[in-house]
Amino acid sequence: MVKTEIKLKGLTLKNPVMTASGTFGYGEEYADFVDLSELGGIIVKGTTLHHREGNPYPRMAETPMGMLNCVGLQNKGVDYFIETIYPRIKNYKTNVLVNVSGSNIDDYVTAAAKIDALENIPAIELNVSCPNVKQGGMAFGVTCSGIEQVTKAVREVYHKHLMVKLSPNVTNIAEIALAAEAAGADSVSLINTLLGMAIDAETRKPVLSMVTGGLSGACVKPVALRMVWQVSRAVKIPVIGLGGISSATDAIEFLLAGASAIEIGTANFIDPAISAKVAKGIVEYCEKHGVEDVNELVGGLII
């Protein structure tokens, strides 16, 4: 029996596989395809203090081995989540994490404090890296002082596992990760989407309503892997790796690069059952390679 349990501060995952925010709805959308109890956790859609309509259509552009989106954190706000969605999902046999976003520090703090009170939510993923929101979002995540401010403020009101999701749209992601760590983050997850753009040459117009959007999918994997490696060498807190993971082999590569757990994002769109397959595939890899505990793989890169 391969041991797959991953212990993070105040958060125990039965295996290293989680699903990335914004790609897995509230889990319910995938219930026909995946037994959620086979996952380490699910991270539900980005939630803000107030209702957000998101950006206008079109919000998506397909790119080589990936896609751009500019959804813009459409959600009905944290109170709606607590009253309507949480009761439906709180008894899932997996960890349910909430991705929390905001456009100013007070909003982050208020939303995080409300979620702190929810018994069955063991952690939040602080989204300081959404590239599709005009104010805030990524603005906090691209400077050390910004990430420090928001992390520190949320840390004061949030008492469970605080994961901070990092933006790749920075010069030195290790410095940003160190700032999050110093401000009290229990872990960092990376990468959020890479800022990109698509143009229709026939009409000379941008494809996306917001002109730019976040790039995700298999095409971003090498960038994500590199950043996970850089960050995991810089910080002492656990790193959660994501970005283009589409198979168990991809997931293993992130663990070897230093990630303690991983998230599956855009690949859920191509194969709605992929998350559970990756969890199984990691065990198969371990069996094949004589690895008794998945934790042995973390940072196991041989250079």
Binding site: G22, E29, D32, F33, G54, Y57, P58, R59, F269, I270
Partner: protein, 255 residues
């Protein structure tokens, strides 16, 4: 229940810019409503990373087959239209809400434009089965006769009226200009086709106070309501076309 099923192409008919694929699977099909759609994975095409949403043209529960009528639009649909008999196709189905079944006594008009004719056939068959007294009429429009495929299939299910922009088949003009609008008793309209056509049909329906549902095809990624990319701005704000639609009553739409 939604399923991910490996199908095999067992029959194929090619048209100038489209193909009809009959897909067979070993397992029983899930229950499918008219107007629902599938998400087809496009294998071996590096220009198509995401699945392609395709409406369901016909279903045969006895033989475990579905028919997809696919228009070649970009690389992904071109690759699907090029699939040979014997090829495997991975499909997620059934997705979306489907059309609302009419009631006894309704006079139903099914309006299709271009490839938008595809989902109307199966929906009409389900009407004939569930509401036998309700004989649906099709009003199908295309730029020319080449756009209007498989008319025999539609004629087996109901009366077929046709318009083409160039007059090469049926009455010349747009679907909204067909003479049946002045001669036929209609109280329920179901429409699927290009946006300008559906807008024109919706306008006509509003002018005449007729009940009308349209099927939208906003660009999708996940197809199951997770990514929030395919939203339509409605009276209730932005909603996913893939999950809340693709079929909407025009009362909910802002156009």
């Amino acid at each position: 229940m939604k399923k991910i099923i490996d199908f095999e192409v067992i029959e194929k008919r090619s048209f100038p810019r489209a193909a009809l694929l009959r897909l067979h699977c070993a397992q029983p099909l899930p229950a499918i409503r008219g107007g629902q759609f599938v998400q087809v994975r496009v294998d071996g095409c590096d220009k198509a990373y995401l699945r392609r949403p395709i409406s369901i043209h016909d279903v045969d529960y006895q033989n475990n087959t579905i028919d997809l009528l696919i228009q070649e639009k970009h690389e992904g649909t071109k690759a699907l239209c090029a699939l040979p008999v014997g090829a495997n196709v991975n499909v997620v189905l059934p997705l979306g809400n489907g059309f609302t079944m009419p009631e006894k006594g309704d006079n139903v008009l099914l309006v299709g434009g271009g490839i938008g004719i595809a989902p109307l056939l199966y929906f009409a068959k389900t009407i004939c089965q569930d509401v036998p007294t309700c004989a649906p009429t099709f009003l199908l429009g295309g730029r020319s006769k080449d756009d209007l495929m498989l008319l025999d299939r539609f004629r087996e299910v109901g009366e077929v009226a046709i318009t083409t922009n160039d007059g090469s088949l049926g009455e010349a003009g747009f679907v909204t200009q067909h003479s049946l609008w002045n001669t036929k008793k209609i109280n329920k309209i179901y429409a699927c086709g290009p946006m300008p056509m559906m807008k024109a049909v919706a306008k006509l329906a509003r002018e005449r106070g007729l009940w009308c549902e349209v099927s939208l095809e906003n660009q999708m990624a996940c197809g199951i309501g997770a990514c929030l990319c395919c939203v339509e701005n409605t009276t209730e704000g932005n909603v996913c076309v893939c999950k809340e639609g693709p079929v909407f009553n025009i009362e909910r739409l802002l156009w």
